[in-house]
């Protein structure tokens, strides 16, 4: 399983990077952590003629929590986020990070890379949708800031244009008065989630998100309901929403897991 040949550019500034993207457009793919891209190259399901390796770019934002938002720059590895989040053990992101693959993958893979890949089971994709996330994109022509729900279009598909790079993403990061719960189930430790459930309770407003159930994580906001009504909503949702079926799990099982994982997440809050 050897990649097809490619040329590599290693820009060391954002300006150089976006210039390359503008120049090469669809012929180029960005290489960040490589934990998702390199297997695809090895299997030759992706064979770009050009890779733009962004690992030497020095002026991406790093990681910072300011004004109740957490910004995570393009080159922040899952492991670095994990380290940063040790100061916020009760936050949703902190609860999610142990579920992201395995240590060796977390040492290289990037949060932003995972988000661009937009796998329906990705923890960070779910987090962005549930935590009022934004994706900060840059191209030679412009910068734009896209709401998470407008960014994800389908499985593995986002609205990022080929000439754009994700510079950073940011999430809502509030601890006061907000409770978080997360649960996911995959068959083996470290596997992608069959179903994941994230719950955020801010006062009487609940935000509930499900990953792995559909092509994009599903997110619902319930205002002014109590715990009982929330559980009823989840029950009804599990019966009514259109749920994926694939060789790894039946639709019926996913419905069952929606309820069980949501209840597990809820139990961390209540």
């Amino acid at each position: 399983m050897k990649s097809a040949p490619f040329e590599v550019f290693c820009p060391n500034s954002l300006d150089a990077l976006i210039d390359l993207l503008d120049r090469y457009q669809d012929d180029a793919r960005i290489l960040a952590g490589g934990q998702t891209l390199i297997p695809m190259l090895a299997m030759r399901v992706a064979s770009p003629s050009i890779l733009i390796d962004i690992n030497q770019v020095i002026n991406f934002p790093k990681i910072s929590a300011v004004n109740q938002r957490l910004e995570v720059g393009a080159l922040i590895r899952h492991a670095e986020l994990e380290e940063f989040l040790k100061s916020y053990p009760d936050h949703l992101l902190s609860k999610m990070v142990p579920w992201v693959a395995h240590a060796a993958i977390r040492n290289r893979g990037t949060v932003c890379g995972s988000i661009c890949h937009a796998d329906p089971s990705s923890e960070w994709v779910l987090a962005l949708l549930v935590l009022d996330g934004y994706i900060n994109l840059m191209s030679k022509k412009k910068k734009r800031r896209v709401k998470a729900k407008d960014f994800f279009l389908g499985p593995l598909q986002t609205c990022k244009l080929t000439e754009e790079v994700v510079v950073s993403v940011d999430f809502h990061m509030v601890m006061d008065g907000v409770r978080y719960g997360f649960s996911e189930y995959g068959y083996r430790h470290g596997d992608f989630a069959i179903v994941s459930a994230a719950v955020v309770k801010a006062g009487n407003t609940w935000t509930i998100g499900f990953g792995g159930v559909s092509d994009i994580p599903l997110v619902y906001e319930l205002g002014d309901v109590d715990e009982m009504e929330c559980k009823e909503f989840i029950e009804k949702l599990s019966h009514e929403v259109d749920v994926r079926e694939d060789p790894s799990a039946t639709a019926a099982y996913r419905r069952f897991l929606m309820r069980s994982q949501a209840l597990q997440a809820l139990s961390q809050i209540i």
Binding site: P5, E7, I38, H189
Partner: protein, 181 residues
């Protein structure tokens, strides 16, 4: 269309020379842009202790240290470690000359607990376990199992591996500075 920027570029199908530190020694070798780090270590540098079991990052057999952290050598390209520090199973200990001396305490424990049979996954486990023990000196069995769940073994059923790691953790707490050469 020349760029105003001075950007490092590697052509496809052209061999590049890279230089890096491997197991404490400066090494140089040639690679193409698409040569993975795992293939480079094995075939260019002759360090065949790192094994390729799947080439898509799941089995963990190819795990090595880059700049002190475990990574999958099948999920990096060789050119990416130009100037970096790489550690492989061969570098866990410097003395290769005798049967029993020259093994680290973890390797001795692996031997004692029959934590390897065919040995193909073993280098990846050793790198993973050393890193884990460094960061988790008092693990529970559950923590050990989860930490090594990114490395697949078909021969041993993991029994000996788990027991070896737990024993070494206990021994190192009694006697800090565990690695013997």
């Amino acid at each position: 269309m020349t760029s105003e920027f001075n950007i490092k570029r590697i052509d496809a199908n052209v061999r590049q020379k890279i230089a890096l530190t491997v197991n404490g020694k400066l090494r140089t070798g040639f690679c193409e842009s698409r040569t993975t780090l795992g293939d480079f270590l094995r075939h260019e540098l002759g360090l065949t202790g790192t094994h390729l079991g799947c080439e898509h990052g799941v089995c963990g057999a190819c795990t090595i240290n880059v700049d002190g952290k475990p990574v999958r050598s099948c999920l990096m390209f060789a050119y990416q470690v130009n100037g970096s520090c790489v550690g492989t199973v061969e570098g866990l200990c410097e003395n290769h000359n005798s049967d029993h001396a020259g093994l680290t305490d973890l390797q001795i424990a692996f031997k004692k607990h029959h934590a390897l049979q065919c040995g193909f996954c073993t280098p990846g486990f050793l790198i993973t376990c050393e890193d884990f023990l460094k960061n988790h000196p008092s693990p529970t069995e559950k923590e050990v199992r989860e930490a090594i769940s990114g490395n697949l073994c078909r021969c041993t059923g993991y029994a000996g591996i788990v027991n070896a790691v737990l024993e070494v953790a206990a021994l190192r707490k009694m006697k800090p500075g565990g690695i013997k050469c």
